[in-house]
Symmetry: C2
């Protein structure tokens, strides 16, 4: 991208990460840690393969991404954020927070990946009963389940199946997120195809009070 040629911190940031796809590449690496080219590509449906190669080169030149040759058994190139690249996490978090209300709209052509949703869940849910027993909720959603655990007022969101969850939500992602974020109640979510397995009270442990989603 052509530089803005402004002596301004925001403009200089955008000189480095303002290109199309660039911040999404950072999002992928931030979520995945070390990742292969092909995995990154899978997390960015629609990206032209030459563009991804370009962006990775640019990010490497800017010192935000490092490439390492993994020895066998991996035997391939791994891409990883440098500490400076990790520093973009707060930017991504704020962008995500700001964009959450936009997720009430889901276009038919929107691709879905569980690891994208995990970030949204992470910033939105909290343990509403810190004194309660530890519980685990599994979301069976998109391409991979998401496990949400509450324990002593702390929540932990992880990709992959939860071992022996207390409850599970199965169905389309939009009403499941809507239920967790408090924009729809349980009967409403069920009407939209969500099935609850296990203990219904677990939902209330996580569900936020109605967030003002535009």
């Amino acid at each position: 991208m052509r530089s803005y040629d402004e002596y301004c911190a925001v403009a200089k940031s955008l000189d480095l990460v303002g290109d199309r796809w660039t911040l999404l590449v950072v999002r992928e690496l931030s979520q995945r840690g070390a990742a292969r080219y092909t995995d990154i590509r899978n997390g960015l449906p629609g990206v032209a393969t030459n563009l991804l190669a370009d962006r990775l080169r640019d990010l490497e030149a800017a010192g935000l991404v490092a490439r390492e040759e993994a020895p066998p058994p991996v035997a391939t190139t791994l891409f990883r954020l440098t500490p400076r690249g990790e520093g973009l996490r707060p930017v991504l978090d704020e962008l995500m927070r700001w964009g959450l209300p936009l997720m009430v709209e889901q276009k038919p052509e929107d691709a879905v990946r569980s690891h994208w949703l995990a970030g949204a869940v992470e910033v939105m849910v909290s343990d509403r009963d810190p004194d309660g027993d530890p519980v685990t909720l599994e979301l069976r959603i998109a391409d991979e389940p998401i496990a949400i655990a509450a324990r002593n007022g702390e929540t932990k969101v992880t990709l992959g199946p939860a071992g022996d969850p207390d409850a599970a939500l199965v169905g389309p992602e939009r009403p499941i997120l809507g239920l967790l974020f408090g924009v729809v109640d349980r009967t409403g979510a069920e009407a939209m195809g969500v099935t609850l397995e296990g203990d219904p009270k677990v939902i209330d442990r996580f569900a936020a009070e109605a967030a003002a989603a535009a």
Copy 2:
């Protein structure tokens, strides 16, 4: 901009503000409040006028900017962020924080505006002596002076001349920022063309301890 077509909060945010120039338009409105087309343009040197018109239209359509017809004596169109647009402030702040280390480099072709620098100063300085008497420092810099006031541990950064400042820094912006941000000391800044008027102790009141600027 073409949509990323991802059901992801970050991608949906970028669908709205990821276009070239868009976030800088928001930066201008965030800093200035209501502004005329010409003023915005002046804060975005190098923007093509048709692009600015496009961006303002897009932002209006997205509900982030409102346009109001001001009655005489202004008698012109004013652009202003909506509350939803103001919500991008944390995103801009984090981008600015992340970009601050990049300002150790200033290209000869970089344009400079005081209101860009004011934001950087605002996130960087703090009152290091909350029990001290109120003091005011003026930066005579770029196109407009910047006033920094400390009082009871609070700092306030405003555009425009300070009334009767206790000290003033005059000279090129890079070493002045470097001095305030702690990447260069006073003799170093003076060697780079900075002149100090008034009480030298005022500088220490604001100057951060050496920030780890890359």
